[in-house]
């Protein structure tokens, strides 16, 4: 209570300065005049009375000053004075100021940036309304594994689900987008029911959500853009809504833009369109078999997940009453938020990496601050005389501390603002590097990051700025004033703190150096790790076919054959191969039955990543093949089924045995055994930092090729790259209906961005140690 009234009285004194002044004036005048009147009543002449009254009152101005002091009215004024003086002092030694500000900018900027990344990854609450009420619904297969449900299951749940307030469905879609009608880009997209955003409880950043009627065929020519898509492809056009763009050769209207906060949850998805369930379900067996609808639902208030579980259990049983013993067809309700809070091992690794970086940034800041503190200490020695003179003139130590601390805080704030400005400029690079480590993280210098920068600046100013101030104001007047030289009196105490600070910096620097060395080694390791393929002079193109003219798998196969033949005839092209997933793109997975080397044993069932490739794929990528043979043109639909496995597969499932001649089969067609005819060397299919995993390859001609596939093209010399990359060629053989991915090279480095960022940070930290040599003298 008293604190509050004190604050109010201070505020009044500060804000109503002139009123307080005039009141004070009136009050003191009244006193003097009342006294004078009393004296006059005692017979003193008026003039003489006033003179005596003033005399006995003492210095009126001094009394006023003390009154102001009592109210704290001078606080702001003296702060302004200190700031002005501080600025003057900083300007007077530009070299010192520049070094200190730059050092601090590095430290504080790095920390603000890392804070932004960490904030976007873990600290920010999920961007959904009441995320605890959100659930995912999965279906199960015969083995009890979770899968995305079928459209029929979605419809059944939506019709009968009583525990849910909203049930939304999403499906995947390729979008062929053309900005100028000459080249097409394949943007991944999500088809969503109009109740998807309301279910999540998310408002579009711009524009509106889909309307209910837009879920019907013919009225669905509308899209919502992701934040990244809007930024990158439409230059963050604030008037984008209502504009028309061409997607899938159809003119559609942009009705909204999603907020950036959804980015981490729907990575790489650029275009959201209404899910028209009937036409989506009838798309048929395009890729790995069945069309799927991912279900996200919002529980009714007060409904527990267990209740919803038992209800979906009933719905599922009503759907397949015949097979109670089988594990398949159950609907399983899973906590939505839980999946984001507890990611798999890769996610956890990435998170650990980010936290480690945050730690490194903290160390960098400590070094930077210690650095500046020792510079300030060194300067404090030079200003000893100034401090001594001022305290001899009656300046109290508290007042002096306040002034010097203000000066230092000014320095730290300058550094902090510069750091924030630099971080703002490099938002995109840092976002890129950060999302390379933990997908979906981003840096945006917003209020939170700004506040973090400010708090870091002020706290470090308070702590590290205080050390030199403490020493500077511990002055022995006599000695300091007598000493002639400005450097003569570097007291042993302040020398000791400087030594401590320098030792502190060197120790931290060593920690960083060792960390940097280790990281650099692992970076080299990743860079030089046998990639398993040679990415130089390889171009890639991703093609996606529409369903209609190429619905028949054999028509698609024929088209691929034709494409390869044409590309191979182009000048500069050495070879070309086709795959359904390029390196670094991941792959489909399926349950495989794997023959066990010991006779009579039952086959193992394992979830394995698999790819469909053309015969020339491995030779195009120059992937070594230690055992067996590559696929041949005669491995066709009619001939006996074959497979190729990678070395990890061979090591895991055929230890000590030659796997050639053994068989694998898809669990859903268990009698079609495919003979292993070759073993290729390992390469990482998704991410250069991940562990090796078992992979199986099948000939394109023997699996159902999907509508989307990629071509890897090896050219003879890097000078041929530009020629071949002319995208015209690919239109020529498909009657205009293809899309090329925008990327025309296999990435060999970009996924290491996270590593590079860490190395950069550490090197910054190490470099920021150097100014400390200045204070070593």
């Amino acid at each position: 209570m008293t604190q509050w009234s004190r604050f109010r009285s201070w505020l009044r004194a500060t804000l109503r300065r002139s009123r307080m002044e005039s009141e004070m004036d009136a009050e003191l005048r009244f006193h003097v005049e009342a006294y004078a009147e009393d004296l006059m009543r005692g017979g003193v002449a008026r003039h003489e009375a006033m003179r005596r009254a003033r005399l006995e009152f003492g210095g009126i101005e001094r009394a006023k000053e003390e009154c102001r002091e009592a109210r704290g009215a001078n606080l702001v004024e003296s702060l302004m004075q200190d700031l002005k003086y501080g600025l003057r002092m900083l300007r007077k030694s530009p070299g010192f100021t520049a070094v200190a500000v730059l050092t601090l900018a590095l430290g504080i900027g790095a920390n603000a940036a890392i804070f932004g990344l960490v904030d976007s990854a873990f600290l920010r609450a999920l961007p959904f309304r009441e995320p605890d009420r959100l659930v995912h619904v999965w279906t199960t297969d015969a083995g009890g594994d979770l899968h995305t449900p079928s459209p029929a299951e979605y419809v059944a749940l939506r019709k009968n689900g009583e525990s849910f307030e909203q049930i939304a469905g999403t499906g995947w879609a390729d979008n062929f987008y053309s900005s100028d009608d000459s080249s097409w880009q394949n943007l991944s997209g999500l088809l969503v029911t109009p109740n998807w955003l309301p279910t999540l409880g998310v408002q579009p950043l711009l524009g509106r959500n889909f309307l209910d009627r837009e879920e019907t065929a013919g009225q669905d020519a509308v899209v919502i853009l992701s934040y990244d898509c809007w930024r990158a492809r439409f230059h963050a056009d604030p008037r984008i809504t209502g504009k028309q763009i061409v997607v899938n050769r159809r003119t559609v209207t942009v009705v909204g833009v999603l907020p950036q906060s959804l980015g981490p949850f729907y990575q790489n998805i650029e275009i959201f369109a209404p899910l028209v369930l009937d036409s989506y379900a009838s798309q048929g067996k395009l890729r790995a078999g069945i069309v799927r609808v991912q279900i996200v639902a919002r529980l009714k208030p007060g409904v527990m997940v267990e209740q919803a579980r038992s209800e979906t259990e009933v719905i599922a049983r009503l759907r397949n009453p015949g097979a109670p013993s089988d594990q398949s067809g159950h609907l399983v309700v899973e906590d939505f938020a839980e999946e984001f809070r507890h990611p798999g091992p890769t996610g956890q690794n990435a998170r650990r990496g980010l936290w480690m970086m945050a730690g490194a940034a903290g160390v960098v800041l400590l070094i930077a601050c210690a650095n500046v503190a020792s510079l300030l200490l060194a300067r404090g020695v030079k200003r000893r005389r100034e401090v001594a003179v001022r305290s001899a003139l009656g300046c109290s130590r508290g007042r002096m501390i306040r002034q010097l601390l203000t000066e230092n805080a000014l320095l730290f704030l300058c550094g902090g603002s510069l750091g924030l400005v630099v971080a703002r400029w490099s938002e995109e690079i840092i976002t890129k590097a950060g999302s390379g480590m933990v997908p979906g993280t981003y840096l945006q210098i917003d209020g939170r990051v700004f506040a973090a920068g400010l708090v870091v600046s002020l706290l470090s100013a308070l702590f590290f700025g205080m050390i030199p101030v403490w020493h500077a104001t511990r002055v022995n007047l006599n000695d300091s004033l007598k000493d002639a030289g400005p450097n003569a009196a570097s007291g042993s105490r302040s020398r000791r703190s400087r030594n401590l600070l320098v030792a502190f910096q060197i120790a931290l620097g060593m920690v960083l150096l060792v960390g940097f060395g280790l990281l650099f080694r692992s970076l080299l390791h990743v860079e030089s790790a046998a990639m398993g393929y040679d990415p130089r002079n390889v171009l890639t193109a991703t093609v996606a076919l529409p369903t209609s003219p190429y619905a028949d798998p054999s028509a698609r196969t024929r088209l691929m054959r034709e494409a390869i033949d044409r590309v191979r005839l182009m000048t500069g092209v050495e070879s070309a191969g086709i795959t359904d997933s390029l390196p670094m793109e991941g792959a489909d997975s399926a349950r495989l039955r794997i023959e066990v080397p010991s006779p009579g044993a039952t086959p193992m069932k394992e979830e394995i990543w698999f790819l469909s490739v053309s015969p020339e794929y491995f030779s195009t990528l120059k992937t070594p093949m230690p055992e067996g043979r590559p696929f041949r043109d005669w491995d066709s639909h009619e001939s006996s089924p074959v497979a190729i496995i990678n070395q990890t597969f061979a090591k895991q499932y055929f230890p000590g045995t030659n796997p050639l001649g053994y068989h694998v089969a898809f669990a859903d067609s268990p009698t079609t055994w495919r003979e292993i005819v070759g073993v290729v060397s390992d390469f990482r299919q998704r991410n250069p930092e991940e562990d090796l995993r078992a992979l199986a390859y099948f000939p394109l001609a023997q699996t159902l090729p999907s509508g989307r596939w990629s071509m890897a093209i090896r050219v003879r010399a890097s000078s041929d790259v530009a020629n071949v990359a002319q995208r015209q060629w690919i239109r020529s053989f498909t009657g205009n209906w293809v899309a090329c991915s925008s990327r025309f090279r296999i990435p060999s480095r970009s996924p290491c961005a996270g590593q590079l960022l860490r190395c950069w940070l550490l090197s910054v930290g190490w470099r920021s140690c150097w100014p400390s040599s200045a204070s070593l003298e």
Binding site: H31, E33, R62, A63, A70
Partner: protein, 113 residues
């Protein structure tokens, strides 16, 4: 008349609180009242009275408002707040205890030790 005593450090606040506890007063009135009840035995620097008043008001122990003086002039009147009343009470108790202790010590005779 006895020789005037200089104020002990920190006692001015107590005197002011006591003076205004007897009824609202303006600054000059407080001075007069202290002189009156001390029977002119205390010397108060007039200039130091106002910083003390401002400080006490800042602490919330006294409150002020403008009113009219005996000779029809505008004057600022101070009165004791509830917090000030409590403060005065504890200060008085402290003072009495201290005075007793001091008196006991200073009055000690050699045979009592």
């Amino acid at each position: 008349m006895d020789k005037q005593l200089d104020l002990l450090q920190g006692t001015l606040d107590m005197l002011i609180l006591k003076a205004v506890s007897l009824g609202p007063l303006h600054g000059y009135g407080i001075l007069l009242r202290i002189q009156q009840i001390s029977k002119d035995r205390l010397e108060i620097q007039q200039g130091s009275l106002y910083p003390a008043l401002y400080r006490l008001e800042h602490q919330g122990w006294i409150a002020s408002e403008w009113g009219e003086s005996e000779n029809k002039r505008k004057a600022k009147y101070y009165r004791l707040t509830a917090a000030g009343k409590r403060k005065l009470q504890t200060e008085t108790e402290n003072w009495n205890r201290m005075a007793n202790v001091m008196a006991g010590i200073l009055g000690a005779k050699p045979e009592e030790v």
